[in-house]
């Protein structure tokens, strides 16, 4: 396949895939090392160090970590305020305990290619988390199916909301800035610098791209912030979308986040070899779905 996807070559996609795999390797490595007593800040710092050690030179956002009921984004963390900017997102002093769910979320850039991933797990056992992680499989399939059919993005997001209602879970991504189910990710210039500026943990170059997309989208009738609202009443825009359905039930939340590649007439997940898909396969859920 040599055609371009919104000016992305196959080689570009391969580089994006490599960064996404790196980010997931980081989450898996740090997740496996988590023990009761680790704080969110320590976990986020471990991820940051790991990624910098592996050649990361910029961020969409620096690593986040949420433990326990903070995974469900209820209460303060779930409040929309300050124009969608919510300081409760930042990793805090919450300490991990046995059987407590955790979410690790990081978005590193390397050589101009960016990943944005979400990974969840538990030290011990948490049946609610297992349930939610299983439930997330249907969302991955639903989103892809609808985007392939060129369904308007707002309607895709509303379909996700309805699936949540049917599953009896809350779409907690509504607590993200601008209630986004997904956001755009663009290729940056590879300037060879070893590090780049971040403000409040967000990478200036990536956020600038998002703002540029927003301005461009206003002109062209689309939005880089994909939600259930009117702003997303448009067919899938070709390019890369970091999709992050986040389900919550009571004090437990679960999510994954990966890049969806949208072309002029098709869509596909950048990579199927991701931890949550491997998990569904191990649990015998994946084949059923493919059948």
């Amino acid at each position: 396949m040599t055609e371009s996807h919104a000016n992305l070559s196959d080689e570009d996609l391969q580089r994006f895939r490599e960064v996404q795999q790196l980010a997931y390797r980081c989450a898996e490595a740090i997740g496996a090392r988590l023990t009761p007593g680790t704080s969110e800040r320590q976990a986020a710092a471990h991820m940051k160090t790991w990624l910098l050690d592996h050649g990361v030179d910029d961020w969409f956002h620096q690593p986040f970590a949420w433990f326990g009921d903070r995974t469900a984004f209820r209460g303060f963390i779930g409040v929309r305020h300050m124009g969608g900017f919510n300081p409760a997102f930042y990793p805090g002093n919450r300490v991990l305990e046995e059987n407590m769910p955790f979410i690790l979320d990081c978005a590193p850039s390397m050589g101009g290619y960016t990943a944005d991933i979400g990974y969840c797990g538990v030290v011990g056992e948490n049946k609610l988390l297992d349930r939610l992680m299983d439930d997330l499989m249907e969302h991955r399939q639903l989103i892809l199916d609808l985007v392939k059919k060129r369904t308007h993005l707002s309607q895709v997001s509303q379909a996700v909301d309805r699936l949540c209602a049917r599953q009896g879970v809350e779409p907690r991504h509504k607590a993200y800035p601008f209630q986004v189910l997904a956001h755009r990710v663009e290729k940056l210039a590879d300037d060879g610098e070893k590090q780049h500026t971040t403000i409040m943990n967000f990478g200036v170059r990536n956020i600038s791209e998002l703002i540029r997309d927003r301005v461009k989208g206003l002109r062209e009738g689309w939005s880089p912030l994909w939600s259930s609202g009117h702003g997303s009443d448009h067919p899938p825009t070709p390019g890369l979308w970091a999709v992050e359905p986040h389900l919550g039930f009571r004090d437990v939340g679960a999510k994954w986040e990966e890049l969806l590649v949208v072309t002029e007439d098709d869509a596909f997940w950048l990579d199927d070899d991701v931890p949550h898909v491997r998990r569904w396969m191990q649990r015998g859920l994946w084949q059923q779905q493919a059948a």
Binding site: R131, A165, R166, G168, F249, R250
Partner: protein, 586 residues
């Protein structure tokens, strides 16, 4: 009854009785051993044994000192360790290869607690059904813990139990109790039982000697174990049958049992102490249900409900059984989940079984036992089937939430007879069926239950576009007011919940008469969006339902609009009628 054989246990000869045929090597059959209490003999099991013998090989024996077994003179010979040895001797003789299932009553149960919690018979017992006889050591800890904590409620429980155990003290006085038996108590005994417990077992030839000799059981063991208790634990599956009218036992005596017995099931029966005489079929049914479960591993619904889960105690609705209709979404699902969180077990009923299953699964994840059932609440036959399943498997419910409802909107003149029948079926007949069928069960079981009917603010707010819907809801409200009056004397409470505009599945499935399918879809989306903006969450209605149960509130409007419309209908009926003319459709 004639003994089948005699088994020697040391110097003592035990008279053993059997019912049914033993299994063969190729086709082994579970062996059930029945152990009687005081002042009975093996004959007290006759009716139960005959019933159990249809499926199992059933064995009972006269405990030493009772019936046709020998009676050692020394009090010390009646210590629990000797009684356990006797049981072991019988089991070794009858079922040398396979572990047996114990069903024990009163003193039989006391001694079998010793058998299941000590090493002597390890591997020889598969399950234990215990009726009205606690471990003396558990009882010792039970008393000590309450005395140590010193809380008034705990002390009162101890005082009440001691009150029920007055005869134990008497038995320790020299001469008195034997004298009573010898002065004719043995002849009076059947009449006393009939008066006290409503049972009339066959008169026993050995009643006098059983009564006199058995006193040694108390003298040999009571003080030794109750005053200096040892820790007694078992991992065996234990089923506790608690007769609620037992005159010798307070029900709280079993409260601490989970600390010693992790695999515990508890069932209560409306019966007196001699339940195996008054209700032999019930005891046989429960015993065999438990034995079959232990043998094949499949836990029937009734046992799922009966399983004791200490982590679920101490919550606001612990131990209650709650039925919720329309539990597959919206208010119903949230209500089921909230009850589950607060300790109750739930039956999630919905016309969409898959949705009900999902609610039940979520309830289970919150720690409840939960069952999903499909029923069209408007169908008398389906609701009767549901109610009889509930009664048979789970017993009468504590709370019934008649929540299932549908919506029809539009001109009265355009509303068809079919539309009317559909909405009356679900919204009104559904409530009638639910309230009546489960109300009857509550009355029959003597349950001080609660019936919740979900109406709507439309029950008191007339509207030109809601003729059918509002009429059904007003009827539900009136129905609740009437049956509240009737059921008050039975201590069954009735509440009507009147929610305002809340976005649930009902707006997405509402029918708008006089519109094309396309127009309807558009209208549905508009109404859903409007209700979403109102943001009255199903969770809020669910919380109101739980509060209505907790505070016994007859009518609960939920949301500012519900309160407002209620006030208008009461104090400004003219305005209410004016508002009814406004077409509120978006």
């Amino acid at each position: 009854m004639t003994p089948e054989k005699t088994v020697k246990s040391g110097d003592v000869e035990l008279a053993v009785y059997t019912w049914g045929k033993p299994g063969t090597k190729a086709k082994p059959k579970p062996v059930v051993v029945l152990v009687h209490g005081y002042p009975d003999a093996a004959s007290v099991w006759k009716d139960t044994a005959e019933r159990l013998a249809k499926k199992y090989f059933v064995v009972a024996y006269d405990v030493r000192g009772a019936g046709r077994s020998s009676a050692p003179d020394h009090t010390a010979a009646y210590g629990l360790e000797h009684l356990v040895n006797d049981l072991a001797a019988v089991v070794d003789e009858i079922s040398p290869e396979h572990p047996i299932h114990l069903v024990c009553h009163d003193w039989g149960s006391i001694q079998c607690w010793e058998a299941v919690t000590t090493e002597r018979m390890q591997g020889r017992i598969a399950s234990y059904t215990s009726i009205s006889g606690p471990s003396l050591d558990h009882a010792g800890y039970w008393i000590a813990q309450r005395l140590r904590r010193g809380s008034p409620a705990g002390l009162a429980q101890v005082a009440r139990q001691l009150g029920h155990s007055w005869y134990v003290g008497m038995f320790h006085l020299p001469g008195l109790a034997p004298l009573a038996w010898k002065s004719g108590l043995d002849k009076l005994w059947p009449a006393i039982l009939e008066k006290a417990d409503g049972v009339r077992p066959e008169a026993s030839e050995t009643q006098l000697s059983d009564g006199v000799t058995g006193i040694k059981l108390y003298r040999a063991n009571f003080a030794r174990h109750v005053l200096k208790p040892q820790e007694r634990r078992t991992d065996l599956p234990v089923q506790l049958i608690v007769p609620k009218r037992d005159k010798f036992m307070v029900q709280e005596i079993w409260d601490d049992l989970p600390q010693w017995v992790p695999n515990l099931w508890r069932r209560e029966a409306d019966a007196g102490h001699w339940i195996q005489v008054s209700h032999p079929q019930l005891v046989a049914d429960w015993a065999s249900e438990f034995i079959d479960f232990v043998v094949n591993g499949k836990e029937p619904t009734a046992l799922q409900r009966a399983r004791v889960r200490p982590e679920r105690t101490g919550k606001k609705h612990s131990g209650k059984l709650v039925i919720v209709t329309g539990a597959g979404s919206g208010f119903g699902r949230e209500t089921a989940l909230l009850f589950a969180e607060q300790g109750a077990d739930v039956v999630a009923v919905d016309i969409n079984l898959e949705a009900a299953e999902r609610s039940a699964e979520l309830a289970r994840l919150l720690g409840a036992q939960a069952w999903a059932k499909r029923a069209d609440v408007g169908s008398a036959a389906q609701m009767e089937a549901l109610a009889s399943w509930v009664e048979r498997e789970l017993g009468a419910p504590d709370v019934v939430v008649n929540n299932a409802g549908i919506a029809i909107s539009g001109s009265f003149l355009d509303t068809s007879t079919d539309d009317w029948e559909r909405i009356l079926g679900v919204n009104l007949w559904g409530v009638i069926h639910g309230a009546q069928l489960f109300g009857r069960q509550m009355v029959a079981a003597g349950k001080h239950g609660h019936i919740i009917n979900v109406a709507s603010a439309a029950a008191f707010a007339p509207s030109r576009t809601l003729a059918a819907y509002a009429t059904t809801k007003a009827a539900v409200r009136m129905l609740g007011d009437c049956i509240r009056g009737e059921l008050a004397e039975k201590h069954i409470r009735v509440s009507t919940i009147c929610p305002g505009f809340s976005a649930t599945g009902i707006t997405q499935s509402a029918k708008f008469v006089g519109l094309s399918e396309e127009q309807q879809a558009e209208r549905r989306d508009k109404v859903t969006n409007l209700y979403k903006r109102r943001n009255l969450k199903p969770e809020t209605i669910a919380k109101a339902i739980l509060a209505a149960v907790e505070h016994d509130t007859p009518e609960v409007p939920v949301g500012a609009e519900a309160h407002g419309l209620r006030l208008i209908s009461r104090f400004l009926p003219g305005l209410s009628r004016r508002l009814a003319r406004v077409d509120l459709a978006p």
